[in-house]
Subunit: 342 residues, 3 copies
């Protein structure tokens, strides 16, 4: 494998940064502040870790102007070092090769349209009327169901399933095990048993979205389930039928959104948080980890539920009291009344 | 694709409903009250949405007798419009074709028994002594392990794995990514390390069950894990070894049931709710979303745990107090005693 | 299938146990205390179930010395009957055959190194520079990405995906649907949209680990995500990038650990419990089911959060009060002050 190399001065030039120190220093990779060696670039974003600069052996560190005097190595100065680092580090990522064309073991329906610049990996199945646009990459074992569209430059890493009526925009990244377009959970109770409601809608995923490993997104019952552009979903997230997620919203692992909920733009949903069905969340709402949203939220801000972790014995005593909290409050009110009457 | 079409009168006749208005109106699909056009059928089940009738442009609406005078279009009258709609909508669902026979890319063991009316899709693997009954459909990438049985008319949508000793009844529907019959999580602690307990049981799934995308159902340690008939599991549910789920019980996404728990019939388990191991739930128990069941439940009814969502700053104050709740109650009791002694 | 058979005396000898009763009794399987027949072995580990001994029809029961007089059948005496049972039961497990060699439908890169004693199942994909060591078994539909290593005697049951830079130790067992080495969820917010941080690290899994069905383990951003030896993960667990899990720690189904958290050795993480990012847990910490760890834990012990399950009407009253808990405590303090001033 050939080495990817840039000088510090080249990096400064490419990303519009200023540098201090040896601009000719050759960088061939990235590393942590503690671990990076003389040919690697690191970054200091959180000043909490500033003390680590003293011992840093990196070739160059991306940091804020305010930290430059503490830096014993070459430095690249950025207004937001984390963003600058993200852009630089991308230069050093080696993605597995994705050869253009259709692997011999793939099964592609005659009516499917596969761009000649797309890559269809081993054991992929592309069904009737599916469309794979320019530069799209299907890693091994992907299934693109009837009528699904994979937009240009999108990448299904491996073993992704698009069931049916799923449209991915451009540059969408989907991780292994994700299932998009599965039946929504729609049931009607008919006297003594369940009847299934056919799920006739689809899923529309906007440009630049990312869908985590083993995440599931059901298709709509009638209308579509929708993710606007740049929505970022971590692993094992569940998006039910007819959910609508606004642009730039991010959800951490194991979050779940029930049917027909509408999430605003620039929201942040914490790990294993849940949103009940048919609720609406305004733009720029943050839900902390493991919270359950049980009513619509009209104002931006941060919202939480849950109780704090404690030693189990202490917790047991408090939790037992919770079962009678209403009674205690009534007793408190009675005491207050007595007290006022005295 | 040929169009599926029924007149309003044909639908009334087929499903035993009465109709009002133009019985000759041709219907070729379904839609929401707000979105359905003149050749589509819609429904009004929840009277909360009754005001939408005024602007409805649907060809016909399924509704209750009490709403018929507000309906500007043709109407089909049903005692339960949602159930009637479910049955009618099924007429308009187009399932991807499932050609009878074994796809050339599938790998089927010599000892497996595959009905000549079954469909085995691309890249499926059917192992030794597996049985695929009449009319069963295995979509692409399904794995049916040694000795597993897929009952008549059952459908594994795509990429479903039945590990071993799994028996599916008739008309079972399993969505992509589901894993059934994986090893239960059985460990014995031997002084300083874990020893695995072999998981020698199987899984039995009754007729008409539905298993959601990326749901996991472990096989039993000795006896079987069991789902009776018409159990409905949403996506990303975890059913541990030796769980027993009664008929007609439904679980919403991300629910989890720990080992050897026994859930009654007609239960409703909310999204991301949990049931601890070895507990029993009576019939007709409802658990609300994200609740944790920590003791057996002998009476039908609705049960909950958790605390409400609040603005994060308010919540922090309350949550901090929770850590000392027992102390506060003791102080309250002391005050009451003082008050009584005065 | 030939029968696996041992006499009671042979089992005693093999596992260093003493026996009482008929040592020549032939055992060909295992069963529950209630269900085992005359040729089967059962065990009594929890004295709570001692009453079941009276009606036991098993060929032999593994039990503690203290229970031997209550046992109507032959007995094997063990200091820890559960551990002894686990070892004995393993003799009777029949794993599906895993033929040595590469299945004709598998796709193996030219640069991959596959041991001649390994088994590569149907439709497996082994990418460039991957290494499959001696005796390793890849069941159907496994994907071993570029540069990944599957250690000797490890077993990927079926449909396991190792994305890239993943190293499994020896005797690692991975269940279907698991995804190891997927991109960590690393994003930088650049004014109005997200930028992805390349995930340049890998995943290292120690010897004798077990990874449950549909569990996801992300690779590190820079350094590796690490599981030391004998870590046991149940189904649907989420391990984020750069998490470090100490040896012999076990996690129950649906647990989740956020990025860069460090979990000690011999910890027990309950079902659907969560650990926030960058926290540290000492050795021998137990977290009960559905608890959320929001601060580092320095001392061994058991920790919990949450409130108890109640009838929904009672719960609603208490939960409503929780929203004002801080106010109530202030009112309580005011009353105490009044009372002291009287």
């Amino acid at each position: 494998m050939s080495t990817i190399q840039y000088t510090v001065a080249e990096l400064a030039d490419r990303f519009g940064l200023t540098f201090k120190g040896d601009g000719a220093r050759v960088i061939d990779g990235v590393g942590t502040l503690a671990g990076a060696g003389p040919s690697q670039l690191s970054f200091l974003s959180n000043s909490k870790y500033g003390a680590q600069l003293a011992d840093c052996r990196a070739g160059v560190v991306v940091l804020r102007q305010e930290n430059i005097d503490d830096c014993p190595t070459a430095a690249l100065v950025a207004a937001d070092p984390y963003v600058a680092y993200a852009k630089i580090a991308a230069l050093f990522e080696r993605l597995p090769a994705a050869p253009v064309g259709i692997h011999a073991s793939a099964v592609v329906a005659a009516s499917a349209q596969v761009s000649p610049t797309a890559s269809i990996g081993p054991c992929c199945v592309v069904e009737e009327d599916a469309v794979i646009e320019d530069g799209a990459v299907l890693g091994p074992h992907c299934i693109v169901g009837t009528g699904c569209v994979v937009g240009a430059q999108s990448r299904l890493v491996a073993r992704v399933t698009l069931v049916t009526r799923v449209t991915l925009g451009k540059r969408v990244l989907v991780h292994p095990g994700a299932v998009i377009g599965s039946d929504g959970f729609g049931l009607a109770f008919d006297r003594d048993h369940w009847i299934k409601l056919p799920q006739l809608g689809g899923v529309r995923i906007g440009d630049d979205c990312e869908i985590g490993a083993n995440t599931t997104i059901d298709r709509g019952a009638l209308d579509d389930t929708v993710l606007e552009e740049d929505v970022r979903l971590d692993n094992q997230i569940q998006i039910a039928h007819n959910v609508y997620v606004g642009a730039h919203t991010a959800m951490a692992g194991c979050a779940a959104v029930a049917g027909s909920a509408k999430i605003g733009r620039y929201c942040m949903i914490g790990g294993n948080a849940g949103v009940l069905g048919h609720l609406e969340l305004a733009d720029r709402v943050t839900i902390t980890a493991k919270s359950l949203v049980t009513h619509s939220i009209r104002e931006p801000g941060e919202y939480s539920s849950g109780v704090p972790l404690q030693d189990n014995r202490q917790w047991r005593r408090n939790a037992a009291r919770f079962k009678h909290l209403d009674e205690y409050v009534r007793r408190l009110s009675a005491l207050e009344k007595d007290s006022n009457n005295e």
